[in-house]
């Protein structure tokens, strides 16, 4: 991974820049995913009642949609850097998510339980690269 792209310019610090609370919302989404996964995993190998898990899944998804909405409303933002970091982050977390999915399938998780766990895994896989990319890009100047 290389950091080619827009060069830095001397100027006022970007620390005080006001941006939407993408990190906080992303962290809240991750908490919802963690609670949902722990709830299902705590019932294994039996099937957990999925209502609670689906509720946390929906909450996590809603928070990530909110984040996407907030992000794409940003104008003066280093999108090149954001997508560069997000792409590589996604590759790394796809490998980790793939391993976890393999363990689910290997452990004979099936049916609606597998759908819920896979959906949570997909949200996790998308969320982390966004948080990393946002944290990097918020301190980059646009040309």
């Amino acid at each position: 991974m290389t950091a080619s792209g827009p060069a830095a310019h001397a100027g006022p610090s970007l620390v005080d820049r006001r941006l939407p609370p993408v990190t906080e919302i992303g962290a809240a989404s991750m908490i919802a995913i963690a609670v949902g996964v722990i709830y299902v995993a705590a019932h294994l190998p039996k099937h957990a009642p999925l209502g609670v898990a689906v509720a946390f899944l929906a909450l996590a998804a809603a928070l990530q949609v909110t984040n996407a909405f907030l992000l794409f409303r940003l104008r003066d933002f280093a999108w090149d850097r954001f997508f560069q970091v997000a792409r590589w982050g996604l590759l790394g977390y796809a490998v980790i998510a793939g391993m976890i999915e393999y363990a689910f399938v290997y452990d004979k998780t099936r049916g609606s339980q597998l759908v819920v766990m896979t959906s949570m895994l997909a949200l996790f896989m998308l969320n982390v690269p966004v948080l990393i990319a946002f944290t990097v890009a918020r301190y980059q100047r646009t040309s």
């Binding site: 991974m1 290389t2 950091a3 060069a7 830095a8 001397a10 610090s13 970007l14 620390v15 990190t23 992303g26 962290a27 991750m30 908490i31 963690a34 609670v35 996964v37 722990i38 995993a41 705590a42 019932h43 294994l44 190998p45 039996k46 850097r81 970091v85 590589w88 790394g92 490998v95 980790i96 391993m99 976890i100 393999y102 363990a103 290997y106 452990d107 982390v128 948080l131 990393i132 946002f134 944290t135 990097v136 918020r138 301190y139 980059q140």
Partner: protein, 200 residues
């Protein structure tokens, strides 16, 4: 302080003395791949010793590194001068970016399978409660590490690659790194209690 910090960073840069900052040490990727393949093979073969090896080695490294960084290295970094922090970070952070996700994945994947094979996942197991508590501790650490610590780690490396890094940005991100490393260090103490309860 911010002005001093900025000047301290801009100074060496002007002289062209700052080292090139690597984000991901590519030479380490084959080792990461080897470790992950080893974990997959241990899972596929239901190899009890292999899984236990991956869980204990990964968990030992994870706990040890978190405690050492949180309680020893973190406070030292906090007392370093800005140029010293930068020099340390440029060498330390890229390695952490490869080591931590690898040992965490190794520990959790192997640990879950070990718990399954040992019957600890079964709700009727007397140790089931401790397993669920360990899920909770891992959940807290995952949120802190993935939402705050790792993004700060990557962002500080990108900042340090700039011709003129902003001292205030570096300071803010390093502070975040030090605090979150401290919190995960405390969570690792809880992990030690849970794991020794499970093994006893």
């Amino acid at each position: 302080m911010a002005t001093v910090a900025h000047a301290a960073i801009a100074g060496p840069d002007a002289a062209g003395a700052r080292p090139k900052v690597t984000i991901v040490p590519v030479r380490g990727l084959p080792i990461v791949a080897l470790v992950l393949v080893g974990v997959v093979v241990a899972i596929a073969r239901d190899a009890k010793w292999g899984l236990m090896f991956c869980h204990v080695v990964g968990g030992g490294l994870w706990t040890g590194i978190d405690l050492f960084v949180g309680f020893v290295v973190g406070p030292i970094i906090g007392r370093m001068s800005i140029p010293a922090r930068i020099e340390f970070s440029t060498k330390f952070m890229p390695k952490m970016l490869l080591i931590m996700p690898t040992v965490v994945t190794m520990t959790l994947a192997a640990g879950f399978q070990t718990a399954r094979l040992s019957g600890f996942l079964d709700t009727s197991s007397p140790r089931h409660t401790w397993v669920v508590v360990s899920f909770g501790v891992v959940g807290v650490m995952a949120v802190i590490a993935l939402a705050y610590l790792e993004p700060a780690n990557v962002a500080v490396l990108f900042e340090l690659r700039k011709p003129q890094p902003d001292g205030r940005v570096v300071e803010k991100l390093m502070k975040r790194f030090v605090y979150t490393a401290g919190i995960t260090g405390v969570m690792q103490v809880a992990t030690l209690v849970i794991m020794t309860r499970l093994a006893s």
